[in-house]
Symmetry: C2
Subunit: 304 residues, 2 copies
């Protein structure tokens, strides 16, 4: 069977006239006549009963017309659905994210994606960074939001945003009125630190900053979430260093200062399996980039 011939036949039946049917199909009349003849020959059935100059549709022709219309509609629908699925307008996308961005980048990305692709079923999974990587590699995640660095030849990584590090002091602190400070001014200060287990990357980064500033922090408290650290500083337990996300917290006893040394910012990235060319992932990464740019653009006025 050939859908072209069915399409032609339907046009002839619908128009009741070879010339008009040919015009509606955008072809000339002779090829149309021939295709109908071919169709009849192939089926071995008379579909149109010719009575010199005019024709009438036979019973068999009428049946074929009904069936053909349904087939053609089905074919169009199938093409449409496959295109939508392939282009990522529909389907199911599993997104992994680290706890660290549950309250930062994730919400705007998800919101933006949902409104752009309402027909996509979005599944969100909070995992540790190492689990994110293995899940991405095994294919149980399509894409993940996580913190670099990460080393995996099979994953594609794009940095979405870079958060500068800021210094946190209680409002009662001697530096509270300043706009900026130097890291060595925290030497000997009671220090609120990220737990090595809960936030290994932040722990390492902050420890490294202190080391570069030639002092070892006098740690008086550990916490394993950024906003917990900020909360301890707010409560006056000590000072801390945190990514600019903290400017989003509303804590009356907290003062936020710029760091003169401007440490390498804390990056947030997005990763997916290299070679994954599905429209879903393509669309999600585009949306994520847009959301990150918007987020980044909204940040500086507070963090600058």
């Amino acid at each position: 069977m050939d859908l072209r011939q069915l399409r032609y036949f339907c046009a002839v039946v619908r128009e009741g006239h070879f010339g008009r049917a040919a015009a509606s199909l955008g072809i000339a009349q002779p090829p149309l006549t021939r295709q109908i003849q071919n169709l009849e020959r192939r089926l071995g059935i008379e579909l149109l009963h010719r009575t010199q100059k005019k024709f009438e549709v036979t019973q068999a022709g009428l049946l074929l017309y009904e069936r053909a219309r349904r087939l053609l509609d089905g074919a169009d629908q199938a093409v449409d659905d496959v295109r939508r699925l392939g282009s990522g307008e529909t389907g199911r996308l599993t997104v992994g994210f680290a706890p660290s961005n549950a309250f930062t980048l994730l919400p705007p990305v998800v919101t933006r994606f949902r409104s752009a692709y309402p027909d996509v079923e979005l599944e969100l999974r909070q995992l540790t960074t190492s689990n994110l990587v293995t899940s991405l590699e095994s294919g149980s995640l399509d894409v993940a939001l996580l913190r670099p660095p990460l080393s995996s030849r099979s994953l594609q990584i794009v940095t979405l945003i870079r958060e500068p590090f800021l210094a946190l002091v209680p409002s009662t602190h001697r530096l509270a009125a300043r706009r900026a400070m130097q890291l060595r001014q925290f030497a000997g200060e009671p220090f609120v630190m990220y737990s090595r287990a809960g936030l290994p990357l932040l722990h390492a980064r902050v420890m490294d900053m202190c080391r570069r500033a030639h002092f070892s922090p006098r740690i008086v408290q550990y916490a394993d979430q950024i906003h917990t650290v900020a909360g301890f500083v707010d409560a006056g337990l000590g000072v801390a260093i945190a990514p600019s996300t903290v400017t989003r917290f509303n804590m009356p006893g907290l003062r936020i200062l710029q760091i003169a040394e401007t440490p390498v910012p804390l990056a947030m990235a997005m990763a997916w399996r290299t070679g994954t060319a599905t429209g879903l992932v393509r669309n999600f990464t585009r949306i994520a980039r847009e959301a990150a740019a918007a987020w980044q653009a909204a940040q500086p006025r507070e963090a600058a």
Copy 2:
């Protein structure tokens, strides 16, 4: 959309291997590769994700596979149904018949047709000869069994059987022991005659025979069915002339003789609209011819 490409794609997905798929399709591998590429290009979607040497079916490809299989099945089914309808293996056929053959030719024809084409819906209508003709011409009948002659340019007529006329006498009649007789021997005999209203053709034919034999029948009784006429003769009311159907009746008091003049036999014919080329009519007329031949073949040993 092109069904060929869908068929090829399904084969590739089913076999999971271009070479085997090509073999199962009866084509070489390179054209198959190209067709799949064309299909992907036309849809603008990656259906098979190639990873050097092997490939895996994408989500979109899987969806297309499901849809394509249903489309292909639907197309095959449609072709099959149309073929069956067009070839007369299915559908609805309206057959008209005259009262005169309700008990002769019609039953074997219908039986034979039913067993040959059990899926055809057969509608039988008993009508007068003139109504048969007008119904055929108007299209409300597809085919009819009737007695010639009839004149209609738009109808195709085929004679199915020819029944010789026979003479009927009661077993007490002076001719009862003879095998044959001459028509003039019925001159003056009490005669059972077909009513002009009920069986105009038989009435005319018998009257004509008598006229050709130079006598006018002394009619003592009219009847409007053949078996009623035979019944009256069986009861001893008189003699009669009847078509060979009467040999099928089992009447102890009835003797059947051949007529020396061998009048032109009584024909039974079949008619349909010229130009009607539907498989149903073609099949029915073929079956009717076969049934008539069988009926005719079973006749002579009694009527000879």
